[in-house]
Structures are given as structure tokens and as C-alpha cells.
Symmetry: C2
Subunit: 361 residues, 2 copies
DNA sequence: CGATACACTGCAAACGATTGCAGAAACGCT
DNA sequence: AGCGTTTCTGCAATCGTTTGCAGTGTATCG
């Protein structure tokens, strides 16, 4: 069916071994024959069979990336980055979707080692520590975004404490004192860390922590709906909301739209993690960027390092933090303490009516 | 390192061949030994090595899905569907991102055949017909969403003519007569087909086609911006816009927000293809659903069929169409011909006004 | 000029499975 | 008991590479 090494060898009237050595460039063959074989191989359109090679060498040139889903914009860019990087190095990426489900993660993991992947970047659920630990003995593994506490795997993390701190401080600097926080479940690292960053910023600013302003929930839009309602229904509702549970953003947006709350006039909104449409939305939504691109790149770097190091790529470091940064757009504004709360106020502002607008933009 | 067939055979005091036959269940071994081997294999934690097996059988248990990107929501759900289906059948999905770039597509394709994938579902760029055709001789291929005209590959397509027709008709039924269309490049199948569906609906309703209402462009948000502006700046702007180039939706939304145009009061908006946030958006955006989920499922079905059929799974059918359907949400409304156009009308609802304020523009 | 090193090359055994072929065991039948 | 079937098992080749080892030829040196 396809051209094998034998074919090349025959055409060149040498043995398979010589052909192999010439083509893989082990340097054990004369310059002349090497060139000749290279040429013949090209003419014949020879492509080495990774399966056969893999059988012998134990390597597959396959690197897996295991993420929870593809809906999350961060995972999308990570996948794209990883794929691009790996391809450039001659690896194929095996992208797997684990659905944040331990069982599925475990299954996938076994399939992957069956296929003798050369390396793995995984966003762990945290429930398969033992398995991961065992795997790590055989293949290089790097954890991404989440840590699996049951292991001591090298992990590339977003700097969530800092990101949350940055975001909260930004809001404080704008004059907000009552800042609602919608954050992820407290049994996840990111959930805890983001809360801590928020708390630290508050403390630094001398603002007392008010637990009625803090809501945690699952990473789904519905969380945004319920939490946002709770916040707005408070006797003294917040003047700003920091949605540090990115999936919840949709829910928050909906509730504010339903209640005719104008962002950022009536309420400032700051979100965690970017989505492609955030900058197209009006008002464009300010965010704390967790640096998905950097995270992915670093993860690949670390993985490659380990793969090269053949066994011990331990540089002592167990955990890398990728800095978060604030991207200011239009959804946060200075808080004027004298203005009325968010009760039904009618807009005087229609000033900028469409006439002016339609100019050119 | 890991348990091989030989280990199992030794433990059971039989030959490797017997072990192999027992475990693969070829029925050529006695019930008793088979059970015994199954047991021992389980105890030892034996997992067959797909690489070794692949070398002998020429199969890899790998099926590739090649899409343009992961940003597109349709591709996301397709990837998830394909992954789920394949995994259930013991295949691993190789998800590849081709970026709609012929060169990259071609490279990826070669890598994939190198890895002896058992099957391929591809969204073709349309520029590598020859290569695809050649590949199709060796492995089962199904095209998805786009057709490659240079081949006669089995193709699973969305019913774009029908979808566009449905959408347009919906708007017409709501009383709209001037319907703007923002559609994809006319050198893509989908671009052409959606335009044709739009035209048909118009003709059926006895509405003259007005080419100033029709704009085509690349699949990027910017297209939405420019096309939308052109439409709104028309002497007689449309009362509804059908965005049949899904990437352009963001741009359209931005322009309308900037110009203080309230949807659906001032302008009805209908989009093609769903995005997760469409139903959370206020107003929730009505769409024509191209049935990404169904498309993916059908593609998998067809591929599996071909893979089973070993060579000729040709059922004569070359092309499958998956019906589109209309999902009515809140972005389209009845058009009242008596109301003023979209000139400077001040908002009664006032809700959105300030959003556009941010002067930015 | 003979010995010794060196640079290449080829043979053959792996890697871990599958599979055609032939031998062994078990059985039924005359 | 002898023979033919049938049923199971094992040997060994094979898939396409890589790689240790031994062999060949040529250059180098004393």
C-alpha cells in the first residue's frame, strides 16, 4: 500500500538497516549514501510509519491535551496554542474532552497510555490523583489551570489570587465600596483563590468584608442568575459586581438586562476570563485576563522540557504562576456615592441619540 | 514496563497465540481456556498494545476530526459529539485544527495518514481535492458541512438553502418587506446556498430582490460591522436583518448598540447558527439552527458505516442534508409599516440608551 | 609492507501483537 | 483397534522499524 523502508532500501541496493540509519541521520553512514538515500526516499515518497517506529522505540509522537470542554473560551485558545506548538515540533495533538467528570477522565487516561502518548497536558478534575501519579512515572505530565492536590505534579496555574486582587482593587479605585462577588465553588482551587484575592484587596483598602456580598456557585450560567438576583435584592445592593465565575457572566448579564439596569451607569461589571464577544458587546466588558495563551505556552514549554530530559526534568519547581492582567473596557465606571441607588431612575441621558451616532462611527 | 500478551500467556502456561485468540475472542479456543485467560488477563491488568496491534492489522483505532477552528460554536458541539460517539465505540478521536488554510490542511492530512487513522471526518477547505481523493482510496472519509467539489466524497451538509429560506420566510411573515442579508463569501457553498434560500423566499412572497440589501463578506465580526452600517445608512434601511454569516453577528450587535437601535423594536434581527450566549442575551436572539448536533451524529454514522463496510460502503448516496430549523426567541418582531423608520426616535424604554453613551464608538 | 584503526555496511533480533498452517488431543464411528 | 473428524493448541512468520554486533573495505601508521 504505501512505500516502506524496504522499498527504499531495495531501490538503493542497500540493506534496510543502512536505509534506516541514513534517513534518521544517526551519522553512522557515509555522506554519499545518505544523500543518495534521502533523494531516493523523496522520489519514492517514502514516509516512515510511526506505528512501526513506535513499536520499536516506545514513542508515538502523540501528545494529549485533556480539558473539560470546548465551550470555555480559555480551553479553546489553549487547544489552539498547544496544537500549533506541537505540530511545529512534529507531534500530533490528541485533544480529549473529559467533561470535568472523574470517571470519564480516568477512562480517557487509560486509553491515552494505551496509545503510548509521549506526553500529557491535563486539566485535572482532582479526583484521579492516584492514577495520575502512577502515570507520571511512565510519561511526562503537566497539569494545567487546576492542581491535583493528591499529586506533586508540575502545575501551570493562573495567578488567581492576584487576578482577583487586581480586579477588586480596580473597582475600589473607582470608588466602589460595596462590591458583589460571584465566585466558583469553594471546593475548587480557583474558587478559593479568587475569593482570597478579593478579600485581600478589601482588607488593604480598609473595607470590611460583608459576607452577604459574596456568593459562590457552580460554573454554569444559572449561578449568575441566582447570585445576581440575591445581590440586587439586598437592602443595600452593591454598586459593582465582580463575576469571578466566568460561566456565570451570562446569567448576570441577563438579569441586569431584565431589570433594566444599565451598565456601567447603574452598576459596574467586571468579569474573569475573556470571551471573544466581550469586546464586541456594548458596553464592552472589562475583564481580568487569566492569560490563557501564556498558560498554554508555558505548559507546552514545561512538557517539552520534561520530554527532553528523559526521566527527570525536575527543576525543583513544582508550580508556575502566570500573571493575570486587567483589561479595562467599558463596563466599569467611577462610583458616585451621591447618586441614587439602582432604583428605577429614568434616563435623562438620551442626549447621545442615534442621530449623532449614525455619523460614521 | 507494562503487561504484555506474553506475560499473560506465561502465567496461564499457554502459547501467545492461544492467549491472543482467547482474548480477542475469535472462537477458536475452548470455552474453558478462554475463561481462564480472561481471568488471568484481568488479574494481571493486561491491556493490549494498540501500537503493536496496529502494526499487524493496519488499524489504529484512531479517527480524526479536522475542523477549521474551535471558536465556532458549531465546531465545538460537533467535536464534543464526535468524541463522545467514538469513545463509546473504543476509538480515540484525533481533533485537528486546520484554520481553513489549505497548506495546513494538507500537512495535517499527511500526518494523519502517517498515523494510519481508521477514518476521517473533515470540513474541507476545498483546495485539497486531489489529496483527499487519493486518501479516500485508503481510508473512509466523510466530509462535513462543506463540500469539496473536486471530489465525490460522501458529504453531510446542513440544508442551508432551506435554512435561509425558513428564516427569510419567518421575517416576511412578520410583515417585513425590506430584509437586509449579511451572508458569507460567495465562493463558499454555504454563502451561495444561503443567498439562494433568501432569494427564493422573497420570490415566493412576491417581493422584488433588492441588491442593495444584500451584502457578503468574510466570516469575521468586522464583516458584520461594515455590512450593517451599509444597510443602516441606506436611504430606506431594512426593517429586519438576517445575519446568515454567523461570525458577523457580533459586529451587527455592536453597530446596533452603538446607534441606539433597539432590537426588536427598531430592527428585527435573525441569525444563523446558535451560540451558547444567544439565549442569555437580552433580547434573546432568534436563530436558524443548522443542526450541528445532528450533522455530527450523521457524519459519525456514515463514517462508521463505511468503516464497517470495509472498502465499499457506497450506498449510492453522495450527499446528506440535515434539516435546519427556526428557533424563535425575542429578537424578531412584527413589523408595523406605519411606525417611523429608524430615524431619531427617542426610546420609551430608555433601557439601553446609556450603553451607547460611552462615546467610544 | 604488514598491522591496526576506522568508517561503513549488513545480518538478525528485537518491539507486541495477529494469523496460516500443521500437529495433538479428543471423540465418534465401524 | 483403527480411522476419520472435529476441536483445540503451538510454531513460526509477519507487520515496518530500530539497533547491537560482526564483518568488510579502506586509510593510516609504524
Amino acid at each position: 500500500m504505501s512505500v516502506t523502508l524496504k522499498d527504499v532500501a531495495q531501490a538503493a541496493r542497500v540493506s534496510v538497516s543502512t536505509a534506516s540509519r541514513a534517513l534518521t541521520g544517526t551519522g553512522l553512514t557515509s555522506e554519499r549514501t545518505q544523500q543518495r538515500l534521502l533523494l531516493i526516499a523523496r522520489e519514492l515518497g517514502y514516509r516512515p510509519n510511526p506505528i512501526a517506529r513506535g513499536l520499536k522505540t516506545g514513542q508515538s509522537r502523540l501528545v494529549a491535551l485533556l480539558v473539560h470542554n470546548l465551550t470555555n473560551a480559555s480551553f479553546q485558545v489553549m487547544a489552539e496554542v498547544v496544537q500549533a506548538r506541537l505540530k511545529a515540533l512534529g507531534y500530533q495533538m490528541l485533544l480529549c474532552i473529559g467533561g470535568d467528570d472523574p470517571q470519564q477522565e480516568s477512562d480517557t487516561l487509560t486509553t491515552l497510555v494505551d496509545h503510548r502518548i509521549d506526553g500529557l497536558i491535563v486539566v485535572p478534575t482532582g479526583k484521579n490523583g492516584a492514577q495520575l501519579k502512577a502515570l507520571a512515572k511512565d510519561i511526562p505530565i503537566v497539569c494545567l489551570v487546576r492542581r491535583d492536590d493528591a499529586t506533586d505534579l508540575e502545575t501551570v496555574l493562573a495567578d488567581d489570587p492576584q487576578g482577583a486582587y487586581l480586579g477588586t482593587r480596580h473597582l475600589i479605585e473607582l470608588g466602589h465600596k460595596r462590591i458583589g462577588l460571584i465566585v466558583g465553588r469553594q471546593d475548587t482551587t480557583s474558587g478559593r483563590e479568587r475569593l482570597s484575592g478579593y478579600v485581600r484587596a478589601l482588607r488593604e483598602a480598609g473595607i470590611a468584608r460583608d459576607d452577604t456580598l459574596i456568593h459562590a456557585g457552580h460554573y454554569v450560567p444559572e449561578t449568575g442568575v441566582t447570585c445576581c438576583r440575591k445581590l440586587l435584592d439586598l437592602p443595600r445592593p452593591p454598586s459593582a459586581i465582580f463575576v469571578a465565575n466566568h460561566e456565570a457572566t451570562l446569567g448576570v448579564l441577563r438579569v441586569t438586562a431584565e431589570r433594566n439596569i444599565t451598565i456601567p451607569d447603574d452598576l459596574s461589571l467586571l468579569c474573569y476570563e475573556d470571551m471573544p464577544w466581550f469586546e464586541w458587546h456594548r458596553p464592552a466588558i472589562s475583564i481580568v485576563d487569566n492569560g490563557a495563551r501564556d498558560l498554554a505556552n508555558l505548559a507546552v514549554d514545561r512538557l517539552l522540557h520534561r520530554m527532553d530530559a528523559k526521566g527527570n526534568g525536575n527543576d525543583g519547581v513544582r508550580e508556575y504562576r502566570v500573571g493575570a492582567r486587567l483589561i479595562k473596557r467599558d463596563s466599569c465606571r467611577h462610583f458616585d456615592a451621591t447618586a441614587p441607588a439602582k432604583s428605577g431612575k429614568s434616563k435623562s441621558s438620551s442626549s447621545k441619540s442615534s442621530a449623532a451616532k449614525s455619523a460614521k462611527v
